[in-house]
């Protein structure tokens, strides 16, 4: 079995999509909560004009983790003209909706309203936006008791961000294959982050930060027949992140700061709240990851390759038999899922 096939299996094991079976409960819950919020906001005089999924499920870069909650990241949008002056008002309404539905731990955080539903392993984030006729969004920012100085409708471009991540040139050769590879690389790095860092640091290495860095630094690796080489793409992309961009800046000897600007207005720094300690760990471990991946590329024994990859990605990366890569363990034959395919072949 090729290493790429192992990466494929790894990806199959970690990827999470909104239509996945495991996500069914979350999706149904999401739909039902959204429906309740729509009703409530209508009653309150600022009807919901749109709602959309945000985050990794919207950019198809979600991953699953054993023992971790499924995220619901649902943006609720109201018309700017009807929106209450105080951004906390609609957030309180959402809080009430959640509490009425039995969420005990629902709370208003600075960018959104959150709640956990332990029985179903759900974590819910609901940001509220108001939207102007010109298409500009503003996010309701502030906690429950924030005073005027600490609450605001803050300019934001949530749709643009999703579009930016999802955008690719379909006219480019293997454009969609390259974009698929991009998403896989983001997922690999997210799994690496979750596997490598403790809870505190992990939370501060934001997924959107990884998605933006990878997108801006991406080096695809697809051969001329469309077969991907994820190891090469991953190595070259990490190398680019570390050595050809200025995300990590040296602040003193061996200490770094990380700065990744959002690619959409108002282009705030995704890592503005990250400490030097977080940034330094992030950079050093990313550098160590690259070294390991380079070793994998130089290694001839497939079993050793898999061992190295498991050391950075965890056990979801498949095991390999202890044989050389030239006589690797058998590939399970996968037959085409099409009954018939039209071909251009003649003689």
């Amino acid at each position: 079995m090729s290493l790429q096939n192992k990466f494929k299996k790894f990806h199959d094991a970690i990827k999470l999509g909104r239509k996945d079976l495991e996500y069914t409960t979350a999706r149904l819950k999401d739909d039902s909560i959204t429906s309740d919020i729509v009703d409530r906001f209508k009653e309150d005089g600022y009807p919901v004009i749109e709602d959309f999924i945000q985050g990794s499920l919207a950019t198809f870069t979600g991953i699953r983790e054993k023992g971790q909650d499924f995220d619901i990241d649902r943006a609720i949008v109201i018309e700017a003209g009807l929106a209450p002056e105080n951004p906390i008002t609609p957030k309180l309404a959402v809080l009430e909706v959640l509490e009425e539905r039995g969420f005990k731990n629902a709370k208003i955080k600075k960018p959104c309203v959150t709640a956990d539903y332990k029985a179903d392993h759900l974590h819910i984030d609901i940001p509220i936006y108001r939207k102007y006729d010109n298409g500009q969004y503003e996010l309701a920012v502030g906690k429950r008791h924030s005073d005027e100085d600490n609450r605001e409708w803050a300019r934001s471009s949530p749709r643009e961000l999703i579009d930016w991540v999802n955008d690719y040139d379909s006219d480019e050769t293997y454009g969609s294959n390259k974009h698929d590879q991009y998403r896989r690389v983001v997922r690999y790095l997210k799994r690496w982050r979750n596997f490598t860092f403790g809870d505190d640091v992990r939370r501060k290495i934001h997924s959107i930060g990884i998605a933006v860095m990878v997108k801006e630094s991406f080096n695809s690796s697809i051969n001329d027949e469309g077969f991907p080489d994820d190891l090469t793409a991953l190595r070259e992309t990490i190398n680019h992140i570390l050595n050809y961009r200025s995300y990590f800046t040296l602040v003193e000897l061996d200490k770094y700061r990380v700065n990744v600007s959002l690619p959409v207005s108002p282009n705030r720094d995704i890592f503005h709240s990250s400490s030097v300690a977080t940034a330094t760990q992030f950079r050093n471990k990313l550098s160590a990851l690259l070294k390991t991946l380079n070793k994998v590329a130089d290694e001839e024994l497939e079993s050793k390759q898999c061992e190295l990859l498991q050391s950075v990605f965890g056990e979801d990366f498949p095991e390999c038999a202890v044989t050389s890569s030239t006589s690797s363990n058998a590939v399970k034959t996968v037959f085409s899922s099409s009954g018939v395919v039209g071909t251009s072949q003649g003689a």
Binding site: S2, N5, Y174, G226, V331, V334, S344, Q345, G346, A347
Partner: protein, 577 residues
């Protein structure tokens, strides 16, 4: 051409050149006076209107010299021509002719100088160029003599004279010794033998142990012949003078073969009686008898594979190779022709289809074969084209050829049917039954977009399935991942409903595909390719795009047209078992 400039230039170069006027021109001829090896030598150039070849100089009064190699002259002529180069092997500066004259003169002088001063070299050259020397005395309108005998002993020959109005090989004299012509001789010759059965003449074949220089001019032929007889080994001479001399005729052909440093050379002399009224006579062996005969030098050709195959670009080592070609359409038919032309000795053709007028332009076969099975028509066509080729034809389909014992007979199987389903079924059979026979699958794509050939050599990495992996999920692809057109498009056209649907591609496209296939085949059969390989050629996308068809990603990414690339695909489930 301005000969004054040339004249001045050559004189400036230090040559002693003078111009001689002709009746119509101020300068009709240039003469160069030299002294070579103590002998006065005069070279002459007769003016030409333009330089379409290197300017030539003639040796004046050739009889005054010992015979120099690379010269020829007609009896009674005052000049001998000098051959200093192969005409097409040079490109002449006609824009500055004086430089071409300078170079040409230098080469002429160098040659004459070497010929007159180095007798050993001169003799070797006279022998090496025997054939050229012989042909220089053969009259231009003399009919060549094709000798079918390749014996090493003296033999009597039956000579078949050409009939009037015959073309090609039919206009040659044909000579063979009784019983020496194999039954399966090349069909066009067989046909001539049949046609001319009744018109036999008499000839003799005499092998010589070594050659001596050809006569310098035709006048010397009789003496040259007598001298040759005097040097024959006793047993050969005895056979000639006693056995052959029993025959009487108004004319004889004597055919000789002799070894030279450039190989075995063949030549002949035609003897015809000056006065036929005196009755038939025996072949003359003496000066006194020769006076009654007219001797004419003849060009002799042989039907010899050791000579003709390499000379015409075929590889003799392929004669013992046996190839199965399944599919005799535009691609397969052309592959068969190209393999035969390369020297492959044994080809079995399989195709259940018949040739129709719809095949006319892109098929190698002419319309005279319409309604014939393609394999049978191809058999007929190849048999009359390639002398040492053994062809058989069959009408079975690929799926009916899943027979171990049959398949193991072949050095190579070429599948050119453009039907991926049957090709994959056949491949499964080979894999499951562990039949280790090398196979090439080849196909052309529509609209001139390209073509492919995939060579799977058993015991090496790579198989047909390596070209049928779906890059999206590494599953077994139903269409090849080598294709330049995206799958699932209705590419066929039809003029008369379902039964008439066809994939549009041109003769150029099928020929190009046949070419990469034949090239891959020959390189494999010659042992130059030892690993499973693939080759693609990529054409222009204009026709496909204009017709609204989508190209594959590979079309855009592929830049290695005609390169032989490794076949192994890391994602192939069979090769990575």
């Amino acid at each position: 051409m301005n000969y004054s400039v040339i004249l001045n230039h050559l004189n400036d170069c230090g040559y002693k050149v003078s111009a001689i006027p002709s009746k119509t021109e101020e300068i009709g001829c240039l003469t160069v006076e030299l002294e070579i090896n103590g002998l006065p030598v005069s070279l002459s150039h007769f003016i030409v209107a333009e330089l379409s070849k290197m300017p030539s100089f003639f040796l004046a009064n050739p009889s005054a010299f010992p015979r120099p190699a690379h010269t020829a002259f007609y009896p009674g002529s005052l000049f001998a021509s000098i051959c200093v180069n192969v005409p097409d092997a040079i490109s002449v500066n006609f824009e500055r002719p004086e430089l071409a004259f300078e170079e040409s003169l230098k080469r002429h002088i160098d040659l004459i100088n070497q010929a007159l001063s180095d007798s050993e070299w001169n003799n070797q050259e006279l022998l090496r160029e025997f054939e050229a020397g012989w042909l220089s005395i053969v009259e231009q309108d003399t009919t060549p003599f094709l000798c079918l005998t390749e014996s090493e002993k003296p033999e009597e020959l039956c000579v078949l004279k050409p009939r009037k109005d015959q073309l090609g090989l039919g206009q040659y004299f044909l000579g063979y010794s009784e019983g020496s012509v194999p039954k399966n001789i090349f069909s066009p010759i067989n046909q001539i033998l049949k046609d001319r059965k009744s018109s036999k003449g008499i000839g003799f074949f005499v092998p010589l142990s070594e050659a001596k220089p050809a006569p310098w001019n035709k006048d010397e032929l009789a003496d040259w012949y007598l001298n040759l007889l005097s040097e024959l080994p006793v047993d050969v001479l005895t056979k000639l003078t006693q056995q052959f001399a029993q025959k009487r005729s108004y004319e004889f052909w004597l055919v000789f073969s002799a070894r030279t440093s450039s190989g075995i050379t063949w030549f002949g002399i035609h003897f015809s009686q000056k006065k036929s009224g005196k009755g038939r006579k025996t072949l003359p062996f003496k000066q006194s008898h020769l006076t009654e005969w007219l001797l004419e030098p003849v060009e002799v050709l042989t039907f010899n594979k050791d000579r003709l195959m390499p000379r015409s670009g075929a590889e003799q080592s392929l004669l013992n190779k046996k190839v199965m070609i399944v599919g005799c359409g535009s691609v397969g038919g052309d592959v068969a022709d190209k393999l035969a032309a390369s020297g492959v000795g044994c080809i079995d053709l399989y195709d259940p289809d018949t040739l129709s007028l719809n095949n006319l332009y892109r098929h190698i076969l002419p319309p005279m074969y319409v309604s014939f099975h393609k394999s049978q028509a191809l058999w007929h066509s190849l048999t009359s084209k390639y002398p040492w080729l053994e062809v058989k034809c069959f009408t079975k389909k690929l799926v009916d050829l899943r027979r171990r014992e049959l398949l193991r007979e072949y050095d190579l199987i070429i599948i050119a049917i453009g039907a991926p389903t049957q090709e994959r079924l056949f491949h499964d059979y080979l894999i499951n039954e562990r039949i280790n026979v090398p196979v090439i699958n080849t196909w052309v794509e529509g609209y001139g977009i390209g073509g492919h050939a995939v060579l799977a050599i058993p015991e090496t990495k790579g198989c047909l399935r390596c070209a049928y992996v779906d890059p999206a999920d590494f599953s077994r692809g139903l269409a090849s991942n080598l294709n330049f057109l995206a799958p699932n498009q209705d590419l066929t056209k039809n003029h008369a409903g379902c039964g008439d649907a066809f994939l549009p591609y041109t003769y150029i496209a099928s020929t190009q595909t046949a070419l990469i296939t034949a090239d891959l085949s020959i390189k494999f059969l010659l042992g130059k390719i030892k690993e499973s390989s693939r080759v693609s050629w990529k054409g222009n996308s204009e026709d496909a795009t204009v017709n609204g068809f989508k190209l594959s990603g590979r079309y855009h990414a592929f830049i290695r047209t005609l390169e032989v690339l490794p076949l192994l695909n890391d994602e192939c489930d069979i090769c990575n078992e």
